[in-house]
Each structure stands twice: as C-alpha cells, then as structure tokens.
Symmetry: D2
Subunit: 307 residues, 4 copies
C-alpha cells in the first residue's frame, strides 16, 4: 500500500453541558460546549476498521456529563484538565487528549423593585439572562507529561469612534484609497493567550480571575491606544496582557477591520462631519499577529479561529 | 390574462447605518439596520416593466443615510416615523410605507483604573463594546392617515433553574413523557408589543423609556412566576407589560422551550440531583400567543418573527 | 383581569425525521424537518397553568416518528395531512393543526465506473449525496373541515447574466442611481403556492409531480423573461405557474435583488465591458408580491418566509 | 520592551468577484470569494503605527478585481497563483502571500421544452442556477521561490443507508453504547489535498480536471467501502485519491459523524426495522486524519477547516 496514516484524532464534539450548583436558594450556572479529541495507537482502525483500541465517542460524551457531577465545573480550564488527564491516564492506547471548551456567560435577572404577585423579590435567586457578548474559549492539551492551556475569547465587538488614522502607506498601480485622519476603528475580537503553566508541579493559575483581568487589560488597551493602524492597536492589546499578566507568555489576535465608511452626502447638499457611517459586511481587512514574551517560543497556531 | 396582482411591496432592505453624535469629547452611538418597504400604484411595473411609478430602492437607501444626518436618530421608532412620513407624503404613487429597524446596543468600555501610556482615562469617551444579548426591533407602518408602531426584541435568552413543573397533561397512545416537578425553564424570547399611538394628534410615547420599562417588567415576570407550563409564564410576561404600560395594548410572544434534559447518570453509579443537564438544540417545544388589553382588536400577525 | 388571551398555538418544532425505504437492495430516502402547531381550548393553561387540555409537545414529536413508520412518507404534503388529521380528530380540545415541513433532497452517488476493491458497482444502491440547492417546504392546515396546503421552496439562487435593464424610474432629491441597459439580475428565490384542494371529497393533487412542474415553469419564466425590472420577472414567474398548473390558485414570491455591481476599473486603465462584478451582501432590494388566479381570494400571508 | 512580534499577516478578506465570459451568446460564470494575506517586513507598523511598508488592504481588493479583467479566471488555483506572484514580486517588503479562495458552482437552467412568450429556448444561454452542494476551496502560498497549493471542498453531505457497522470497541466505566451491525453512516465532508506542484519549472496540473476526478474518486470510495468505522471509510477516501491522482501527495479529512439514531417505536407497538431515524445535530463524533503518499512529509495543518 503506497499510502500511510498521518496525524489523526477523534472524539465527541460539542457536548452541551449545563451545571447548576445550589447554594441554598442561590443557584450558580456553568454553561459549556465541550469537544473531546483523542490520539494514540489508532492505525488499525484506519487500516482495517478494527475498533479494538477505540473508546467510543459516545463514551467520551458520557464522561463529560459524569465528570460534571463528580468534579463540578470550577472553571472551563479546570474541567478540561480533569477530562484530559482521565483519557490519557485511563486508556493505554490513548497518548494525547485535546479538550476544547466554549463557555457562555449568564447574569442574574434583577427583581429588586419587583411587584410580583407570586413571589417576593428576595426569593428570586435562580433566574438568569444570557450575557451575550463574547464566547469564552479554552483548549487543554495533555500528552501524559506536559500541559498546554490556551484560553481566549471570540465575537467581542468593539469600536472607537475617533482617535484612529490611516495614512503614509505604500501606493501602487492599484491604489485608490484616500488617506484618513479621523476614522472609526471597529473590530470583532478573536484572541487566544497561552499560559506558562505546563506541569503539575507548578502552582496552577486562578483561571477565572486571569480571564477577567486579561479581558479588562485588552479592552483598556483598545480604548486607550491612539491608533495609526489596526496593527498598532493589535500589538498594544497583546503587549498590555503580557506586561500585566505573568501567567501568560503568548497572545494571538485575529482582528477583522469592520469597515465603517463615511457616507457621501454631498449629492443631497449635506455635509457629513464624521456623523453618518455605512457599516460594511464584506470584504473586510483582516489583521492577524502573535505577540510573545521575549525569549519565548511561539506555540499558538496561525489559524486558531476554531479553538 | 387569467392572473392578477395581489399584495406587493418593494424597497431596500438592511441598510446598516451608524450615527455618531459628539457631545464635546463624549460620543454617543446609534447602530441600526433599516429596511424600507413601499406599496401603492405599482401594477404597471409588474405587468409591463414600466418603472414610471417606481422610486428606486437605491434612492430609499440614500434617504436613510441623509435622514440620519438631517434628523439624527433619537430612537429607532422616531427615525422610522420620519422615513415613513417622507415616502408616503413625498411620492404620489406611494400609499403606504413600512419601515423595519433592528437596533444593536453598545455600552462604554470602562477605563477608570486605566494605566495607559497614551491617554488619560478621562479622555476615553469614544470607546464602546457591543452589548450582545437581545436585538431590539421596531416596525412603523403609515398609510398617510394612521400610524401603527410594533416594537419588540429577539434573541434574549433566559433561564429559571427551578420553580418550574410540568404534569397533569393529556396522555394518548403516543405519550411517553414523564411528569416533572422541578425542571429548568429556559427560552429565547422573541416578543413584540403594539402601541396605541396611531395619530399625529396624540402625544407620542417616550420610545426609549418605554423599551427599558417593558423589558424590565417582562424579565421580572419571567423570574417571579412559579411556572406550571411555559404557556402560563408567557401569559404572565404579556399581562405584566399591559398592566404596567398604558401605551401598549397588545403583546405577542414566540417562545421556544429550550429543553435542558436531566442526564441519566445511574449507569455510572451517580445520582443526578438536578445538577447536570444536557442543553438540547432540536426539536424544541414552541409556544406562541397574543395577550390583549380587554376590548382591543389584535393586529400583530401570527408569524411575527421576521419583524 | 384587564388582559385576555388572543391567538395561540403550541407544539414541537423541527423534528428531524429520515425515512429509509428498502426496495430490495435499492434504498429510497425521505429527509424532513417537521414542525407541529396545535390550537384549541387552551385558555386555562395560559391563565392558571392547568395542563388538562394539553397534549405534550413531546407526544407530538413521538407521533411524527410513529407515523413515519405506520404511513411511510409518500410526500411531505401527504405526510402532513396524516398528522394534521390525527391531531384534530384525535383530541377533543384541539380544533386546528398546522404542520410545517422542510424537505432536503438527495441524489444517488454514481459508481458506474467504480474500481472498488470492496464491492461491485452494481451493489451500491444505498449511497447518496445531499442535493444542496433549494429547500422544499410545505404547510398543511386543517380545522376539521377544510384543508389549506401551501407549498414552496426557499434558497434557490438564480442569475441571468444579461437581458436585464433598469431605467425610466422616478427621480427625487435623493436619487443618484445611474440607469442600466445591461445588468446582471440575480435573486435567491423564496416562493410559496397555494393549492385549490381544500376538501377530502376533491381528488388530491400528485404532490411530487406538482412540485417538479412548478419548479420547472418558475425557472423557465425566470430564464426566458427579458427583464425591465425584477417586479416584471417576479410576475412572469407567478403567472407562468398559474397558467400551467390548474391545481394552484395563488403564488407569492419574496425576491431579494442580489446586486452585482460592475466594478469601476478605469483608475487602472482597464475597460470593464460587463465582465467583472462585485457581488454585494447588504443592503439589497427586496421585491415581494402575490399573483392570483382571477376571481380568487388571497390567503398566503404577506410575511411567509418562515413557512 | 519585554514583548516581541511573532507571525503576522494582513490583507483584504472575502472579496466577492463574479467574472462573466461571453462566448457569443453563451455566457460562462466564475463566482469566487477571494482572501488575501500578506507577510514580510511589518514590524514597524505593529510597533509604531508607521505604514511605510504597508500596501493597503483596499489595494489588495482592487488588485483582485483588476486581475479578474486582465487574466480572466481560468480556475481558482490559476487565479490565486497570478495574485500571489504579483504581491510577492511587486512589493519589496512583502515576502510571502497566501491566497484563499472559495468557489461556488453554477449550472445552466434548462429551457429546452420552454414555451416562452418572450424568447425562444435557443436564446437562453445566460441563465444559471447555483448548484448548492459543496463549496470548492483552494489555498495558494508563495514565498518567491516555492509554491504550495492545497485544494479541497467543504459542506458536501453524504450518506450510506446501510453497509456500516460499529462494534468490538473498548468498554470502560462510562460506556453505555450498544453495538450496531447495520447503521446509517452520514457525514459532511471537509477535505483538503496538497499538490506536489511546487515550482514554476514543473508542468502545472490541470486544476479543473483534477478537482472533478478527486471528487469522483472520493465519493466512490465513500459509497463502495463496507464500513466498520468512520475512520476506515475516511482512510479509504484518502487512499483512493492518492492511488488515482499522481499530482496529489497528501489528503486530510475532517468528518463529523452525523448521527442518525434509530427511533425506539416499541412503546407504540411498532417495530422499527431500520426504517425511521432521528437525525441529530449535537453532539457529533468528529473524525480527522491525514493520509500521505509514502515517503512524503505532511504539510496540511491539523486545523484546516478555515481554509
């Protein structure tokens, strides 16, 4: 046979698990979408169809739900670590597990001024509204020795309505763009950051606090950077995270430039003084880059949008 | 010719307009998606292709942008009223205009503890993050005499993690469902409400305040209702709005029952005490109903999800 | 109580059923997405939460699968008729059933020149590729006496690369569009057609043949019409169906004008002789109309895109 | 500064270009979605915002449209090669270009039995219906010396309604799955294949013929393989391509196992003899693997779904 098997992995993708924790009348939610991918001694199932080394994807699904009961879900990262360790240490033929998790945030419905005919406001500690905004993500990879944790977010839409310029660029035969000295800068942030926690012997980061802080620094860098190009803003967002968060060594962003074009109102005798914009869909500029702590090797893949 | 023309309408759909208002350094955003549909003496364009009565859809687009400059965007409703009046009164062959608007909310990026190297936190009054959560909608219809305004929202996901039961239902040959005495109740709210403002002679509602209040009452009714069926919760949500908001006479909801099934963990020797749920996609229960102020005729269409 | 209940309906939506029929080694597929909506004596469940008249949505789901076995799926229309009749005649409190069905078409994978090491080509009569292209839809409504069947399709994308013009339109203050004498006409067809079969005493149409013929006439009318406006093309598409299909009395189309803008290549010293187009997303013209057999009352709703 | 810049790239994404070629009255369409990503000496724009080395993304868009006129679009691959060569050889600071293209297929509307009142059937050579089914993709990468061409497809849905089994797998504490001896095997194929053409000195493959042949072999392998696991089917699909197409050295598939669960009809006194299935959405098994010609190094990334 002139062909051979290369990289391969399998598992159950998109297991939707909601975990309720009851603290008296006060409930807490964790709402995750968990995908399992396992690798190891899997040549035979590809060559002959023998499943002798194959733990069914259905079993990986069951494990997600059982672990949500047994360990609870302290954080997406911690939950993924439990799962990855189980698969790699529990099955001889499995040498590597990669757990990807999406997390959807919820906030409480306020009823403090409620005039309910059914229940007093003090009773309503089990009602939630989905936060919308970004989806939090994480990817945990374990090979039995080392951990790799890459967390991040996607679909966080931000805009600066001023303090953005674009000029002084290369002009070739096909250049028609006019220079801009006050434009809208808007993007839908997809970002990933890699932790330098790789070993059970190290102290584990506080995953929940880390996420909140990274998000805050990233947003502040976006807001506070006077931008001469989206590349510059992107770099500031990454550098701010690494400067402020010792647990993180590498950041990668994929930032679509969500163009807001100033509408030409002159044909109607109107002056558009940076007031009325057309929000375009396609095409869009796409700016992608990795920012690294000095001396560190990059490990986040170039195409990370599926994480 | 054995065929004739029935109801027809045309216009430019999904004009994405972003309006920035500068109040000194402090910027404000209105971010809308505006669709125009016009009707009137349009037989000839259908029968022969003569465009003599047709204002181009491109012109309706231009009008949206020009009006955003000329009138500003105080609220989606007010903006739609300006547009509808213009088309009906401005063109003889146009007898009716229907303006549909989606609105995306933004909130400010907080930089109060910012340690920027570029700008002081006090300077950052032009930075925003899209709120996510629901999309606000409105539909304004005008025939030259009467107004109809139906506002609402879609894609607001809510959950009660307890205080929901379902039992005592009809059982036929095909019934296998077990009765439930403590279940999750979750839905993705699509709601519309009709204002009793129909005439220029009436005092116009405060559209922005009305929206905030309707949303609040609706969420509180969802949270505070001890539910024996999603129909009961739906009715309470609508009744609460009409009881509290004199400007509204009719409400309609389309509520998918986003099933959260308790996972059977017994095969693994675990007890699932309302802790671990599978969030299902399809199929889903779908509960739809109109709630009316007594004595009022219904006008919101049965299928309103496209509004 | 100052509020009352208006129109309401409930049921299980989006039941995905695949029915395989084995004719010896040759298999046949029907692949449907079935949504059930029931109405009747349902005041009490909304007012008090009593489910005494409520057949669970879960039961309506079970019925879909059981009927797929008991009756097979001859056509989506015939299957919906079985279901609607069952719900209305089987449960006293249910007075009306509306069944909506989406159908996905499959075609056989050809293996006639196959060089398989496993099976001879003649054995492969159970392999299919999903056709893509349009989704076929139908809606069956039954109130115990009369039937209403509205069938149709959505997401069928068509294009004429010439034989389309647009000129001679109204020009107002906001008109900037240039007249066009040779343009691309492209649209994503959403169409619905109503059958005049309403009574069990009438001979039932051949639903499968009717669909194929309507689709053919509609496409031919699109291709063969020299178009002075999309309205004219739309009308021809509807009229052609009614002229050719005696079983259909009413047609409604919702046709987005998928703009293909001629790209201005003059800045690069190039002439664009109707060769290079930018396919735009938003905004788009939206043309909607009903075409009726003379003397017939319209019954297809204005907003039918959810059917 | 403790941070440094890692891998980075930028350009205009999703340029939608439609190219019409007129061969007398007979028109031909190429319908592409082209994304440009450029890399090179781009440190400064990230560090200081200086755009002195930056060709605007808007210029890369213009180039796509100008090249569609200048070179035509013989195939997506050939078009991408023209673009990549231009960017790398035309601008000193640009060292590498990656062009990604999606292609949408169209087929002619048949009017051979047309009874048009406007045009004879023989005139209609400019009318098309979008084929639906898969999206064809390609990625061309050029660094000034070597080419890498990876082509493929996504969203091709296929099903075998028999000749699939799954048994003999590992069983652990969390395994509940029953073995299956006759099941539906369905998947939505995402596949990529790498050409061994890397140098201008080599004879270029016939890109159009290659695509048609790869697709055919892949579908036949899917249909003809009696499957004991989706991994086995996947491997056969890849091996068949490499065995038959000398121009291809590596194939990678990402195959979601689109579960079709046999519905339990026993509660209703019915026997389900592999006739009625529930088509599930989530979760799904996900099987991914690379198949290589012996002796070849793998280059297709593990996560290739965005290509």
């Amino acid at each position: 046979m002139p062909t051979i098997l290369g990289q391969n992995q399998y598992g159950k993708a998109e297991n939707r698990v909601v975990r309720i924790t009851r603290d008296g009348d006060t409930h807490h939610i964790k709402d995750l979408n968990v995908s399992v991918a396992l690798s190891g001694d899997m040549e035979e199932v590809h060559y002959s169809g023998s499943n002798a080394n194959v733990l069914p994807t259905d079993t990986t699904k069951n494990t997600v739900y059982a672990f949500a009961k047994q360990y609870g879900i302290e954080s997406a990262e911690q939950f993924g670590i439990h799962l990855a360790r189980h698969f790699v240490t529990g099955q001889e033929p499995i040498h590597r597990a990669r757990i990807r998790i999406e997390e959807y945030a919820w906030e409480r419905i306020e009823t403090s001024d409620g005039n309910s005919g059914f229940l007093g406001a003090e009773d309503v500690k089990h009602s939630f509204v989905r936060k919308g905004q970004e989806t939090r993500v994480t990817q945990i990879t374990y090979d039995g020795e080392k951990w790799e944790v890459i967390s991040g977010l996607k679909d966080l839409v931000v805009m600066n309505s001023t303090n953005s310029e674009f000029w002084g660029y290369v002009k070739d035969t096909y250049t028609t763009l006019q220079e801009a000295y006050d434009r809208i800068l808007a993007t839908q942030v997809s970002g990933r950051w890699r932790f330098n926690w790789t070993d059970d012997a190290q102290k584990m980061p506080d995953w929940e606090k880390s996420y909140e802080q990274v998000r805050k620094h990233m947003l502040q860098a976006f807001a506070e950077t006077y931008s001469l190009s989206l590349q510059q803003t992107l770099y500031q967002m990454g550098a701010r995270i690494i400067d402020n968060r010792a647990e993180i060594d590498e950041v990668r962003f994929s930032l679509p430039n969500k163009h807001h074009f100033l509408v030409d109102l002159e044909p109607f005798g109107l002056k558009n003084d940076n007031e009325v914009y057309f929000a375009a869909d396609r095409p869009y500029g796409l700016i992608e880059a990795t920012i690294l702590r000095e001396g560190v090797e990059p490990r986040i893949p170039v195409d990370m949008t599926n994480l």
